[in-house]
Amino acid sequence: MSRTIRVLVGKPGLDGHDRGAKVIARAYRDAGMEVIYSGLHRTPEELARMAVEEDVDVVALSILSGAHATLLPKVVDCLKKEKGSDQLDVLILAGGIIPAEDVAFLKEHGIDEVFGPGTSTEEIVQYTRTHLKREIA
């Protein structure tokens, strides 16, 4: 018997648009996963705390504000602090409006994968399934 995959869909920062976040939340749900939606305007500290308490396998961050270069690495740092470990067992994904030239920087700072605006939800779900960092069996 395999356990249920849990995902935190998080909205860091100040942008007030959660259409994208809701689309990916529904896609994960339809793929049989449990999605905790953070609601708008969350700080990196709050998102890290949520990820810990909800014991999620995946943190999927949706960001449109342009502040990804500062906010997303901070989520990673906070999560490491919360978990007391540099080796995170959580897959961290980002999507939204992130220019291609920023992707390398984000990956260097602990974001496992970045999905551009054109990515299909199927692709994201498939990637998520195959890159989990914790056993699901």
Binding site: R3, T4, R29, M50
Partner: protein, 317 residues
């Protein structure tokens, strides 16, 4: 992670361990069961409050406000918020955190969203065990928000010491709730969204209904709140705490605790007997054979059931 490590983590109030223990329990793992069995002995008898009511009446917003009030009084709070799983995919969107605006980073608060995973009754199958874990962690209060209930999802009354039934004006759900018997389980009745037209009427209807009934000892108060602004929350909490005092003074608390242990015990006995019988019967083909007989008219359910029990217990009880 083994049992000792998890228990030590919970003892040391490390939230990562509590969080992982809850997952193990929700996933039905033997390790999780072992942890709960051991954690049971280090329970500290938290006060358990249930918040229930139709979808969208403002349960989560109220919980957010109540957490603040409880924290102001110095109490620590564990929250369990349950939302339904999709019957088709098993997935779920757990959205109760959206309304938790103020206390996400408060060290005295721990919030966990659970999905029903097919369990009926308004809670997850293992909510009782999650309460045990939170209690062992040392929260003074444990607040349980049920799914938005429609009909008869009243499991929360088994595990919460005080149940707040939340209604809102204008949804027509007051009448629904009365029909469904959900009001019956309320120790406190809360008319939320008192800023909207019709709140006064809903309150009066409730009070009239209550007036028609006989109560011994405790008559559920009706409290109006505006969860979104915080108005009425002090009165709501006051009513809940009065109910807790009443439970202690009247000796009813002990009875309630006993009843909730009873409910859990029944679940466990079922798991150790019924579930195991059905699993075995399924895997060794016995179930299939009996069902075939029933379909062909060669057997009857009564004899089939007896045969199953006898086969795996060696005797009918």
């Amino acid at each position: 992670m083994d049992v000792e490590e998890i228990l030590e983590g919970i003892e040391a109030k490390k939230r990562t361990y509590l969080a992982r223990a809850i997952s193990l329990v929700e996933d039905g793992s033997p390790l999780g069961r072992e942890v709960v069995a051991r954690a049971f002995k280090s329970k500290k008898n938290a006060k358990v409050l249930g918040i229930t009511g139709a979808p969208g009446v403002g349960k989560s917003t109220l919980v957010d406000g109540l957490i603040g009030k409880l924290r102001e009084r110095g109490g620590s709070v564990g929250v369990i918020a349950v939302d339904p799983s999709s019957p088709f995919t098993g997935g779920a969107i757990l959205g109760d955190r959206v309304r938790m605006r103020s206390r996400t980073l408060d060290e005295g608060v721990f919030f966990r969203s659970l999905a029903t995973r097919g369990h009926l009754g308004g809670l997850s199958r293992h909510t009782a065990e999650v309460i045990v874990l939170m209690d062992a962690f040392g929260f003074d209060y444990i607040v349980v928000e049920t799914v938005g209930v429609g009909q008869s999802e009243v499991d929360v009354m088994k595990y919460a010491h005080s149940v707040v039934v939340v209604l809102a004006p204008g949804l027509g759900d007051d009448i629904q709730a009365i029909k469904a018997g959900i009001l019956e389980i309320g120790d406190v009745l809360c008319v939320n969204k008192a800023d909207l037209p019709g709140a006064e009427r809903t309150r009066k209807e409730l009070e009239m209904m209550l007036g028609l009934k006989e109560f011994e000892g405790w008559k559920p108060p009706v409290v109006e709140t505006i969860a979104s602004s915080g108005e009425g929350l002090d009165r709501l909490l006051e009513s809940v705490l009065q109910h807790q005092d009443y439970l202690v003074a009247s000796g009813l608390l002990e009875k309630k605790v006993r009843e909730s242990h009873h409910a859990v015990l029944v679940e466990y006995v079922k798991r150790e007997t019924l579930d195991k019988i059905m699993e075995k019967a399924e895997s060794d083909g016995t179930l299939d054979r009996i069902l075939r007989d029933l379909v062909e008219g060669a057997g009857d359910p009564e004899s089939g059931a007896r045969a199953l029990v006898e086969k795996y217990f060696g005797t009918t009880i």
